[in-house]
Symmetry: C2
Subunit: 316 residues, 2 copies
């Protein structure tokens, strides 16, 4: 049974949006990823928390089947992020970042984690991301994310990492900066030459674009009427994507990659419906499958065997 | 044989983008719409030009099968628009607008046009749009577009018009302003209560959202690697949409509406590949069909009968 190792942050987030706020609520890339991926595969976290990390979060995650054997507790406080979103939900404004124990994060994998065949390296220092790979005994599928900060401060380390990565998740703006290209498509093309066979450009409320071989696949976001809190949407998307692929056991087939895109999209659409991880925590697999199937159907446009053929043709 | 009447501008545009520029080139909403819709139906233009309108444009349009019997020549100069696009291709910056003869535009339909069963009212004064409908003997399908200027200066006239419209095309930002709603979905819901059974929210490079009955259908834009000039993309989209629906002869079927979305999207993607109407002028029907079919396929994600079932289920 394939499992996924995820390396990333475990945090307490305080977020304000036009629709309300949450204070010191569960967050972090590894948490959002795990809560999404758990629907498809066993997830094992590599992360760090402080002495103040609430016991109930640990219990909730363990209850969802998420392996916390690699979640290390250090003296000090848990990583905290304070942010807000205005009308433009794609634009998170960071009000404060307290790294706390996260500043001392040196990922160390358990012996079981080292043998995992699938790994997701959430947004951390690219040198640390590479050190995770160095500890593993040849994973079959390596995926990662990153952020502006590393793109500008450690471009060489990031390029070294990308040469070892199969699937790269990146925000649209960050993809353009990293590749020095004006469009998401050109950016994906350039980045794919550096290593990743699959480049997924995340566009927030506008969906995502995937480059595989020489093809581009654009998908919209699932239409959600009331977005309360976009925090964690990108990591939730990656969790659904990687979880599905792990269960499918094959990332060479574009049908699986397209399904992965839509499972990621569906999970992200649930996540934004409430603050923190609330909606993900109580999300049933059947609800996920219903939305996934509905979304597949909505996107399906039969182009052949149509009942009505256009009757008038003026052009050649 | 159903034909479409389109009422709108015929213009000479000067456009600068990061990839080049065009000067005094053919443009205008009625022109872009016609060049897209002609692939599916006979199109008949209601518009106005000045004495200086180049003969070769008239010839080109007539050669494409577009009926110019309702294109009136008035003393004076043709409508001119001067604009530029920066890095953000969704943000047209108007440098100059010379209405010229367009300021005196009072649409008067020919007797054949009055009997047309399909009409597209491109972005003009909503009172003029209503006057066009008053001249017609009960069209089966009425569609319109509008812009910020009318939304703020003539909101009541626009509301009166919308109560007589079946399909409303509107930009995302304009939809939000018109409806005073924060999201495209909420905007479409509110506007649909004012009359239009179908509301199509155009999102430029991010695709389009369609509301039909109580369902939302989001589609991405067709991924284009080199966008040279986005001018006219919205009217080209509407032309493909309305042209296909006219040929299909049915706008009550959501499959036809979805196909209309993708034909509109495909046509718009060709249009932005070159300046002015260049790409649309020489676009073959077979190229359009190829891109349409390719796009349908790319969006198709089979959700049932899949070869591989997820093997691990932790959640309920």
């Amino acid at each position: 049974m394939d499992s996924i190792v995820v390396v990333g942050s475990v945090a307490l987030d305080s977020v304000r949006t036009l629709w309300g706020e949450s204070k010191e609520a569960l967050g972090g890339s590894a948490v959002y990823f795990s809560l999404a991926a758990r629907h498809f595969a066993r997830v094992s976290v590599v992360g760090v928390i402080g002495k103040d990390f609430p016991k109930e979060h640990r219990h909730m995650l363990a209850e969802k089947g998420i392996d916390l054997g690699g979640l290390k507790e250090l003296p000090g406080k848990t990583f905290r992020w304070v942010g807000k979103f205005g009308k433009d939900l794609s634009d998170a404004k960071t009000l404060a970042t307290h790294l706390n124990v996260f500043a001392k994060f040196r990922p160390r994998l358990t012996s079981a984690q080292k043998k995992s065949r699938v790994v997701f390296l959430a947004n951390i220092d690219p040198d640390l991301q590479s050190q995770v790979l160095n500890q593993m005994s040849g994973p079959a599928l390596v995926a990662c994310d990153t952020m502006n900060y590393w793109i500008t401060s450690k471009p060489e380390a990031l390029r070294r990492l990308l040469s070892r990565v199969n699937i790269f998740f990146v925000n649209e703006e960050e993809a353009k900066i990293l590749s020095r290209q004006p469009t998401a498509l050109a950016a994906a093309r350039v980045i794919s030459h550096w290593g990743p066979k699959v480049v997924v450009v995340k566009k927030g409320e506008h969906g995502a674009l995937m480059k595989v071989d020489n093809q581009f696949y654009a998908f919209p976001a699932y239409p959600v009427e009331s977005v309360k809190d976009p925090t964690g949407a990108g990591d939730t998307f990656a969790g659904g994507f990687m979880g599905y692929l792990t269960a499918a056991g094959d990332y060479g087939d574009v049908v699986h990659l397209k399904r992965a895109m839509l499972y990621g999209t569906a999970l992200a659409s649930f996540n934004v419906e409430d603050f923190s991880t609330r909606r993900l925590e109580n999300l049933r697999r059947s609800c996920l499958e219903d939305r996934f199937a509905e979304f597949c159907d909505a996107l399906q446009v039969p182009h052949n065997g149509s009942a009505i053929k256009p009757r008038v043709l003026f052009s050649r």
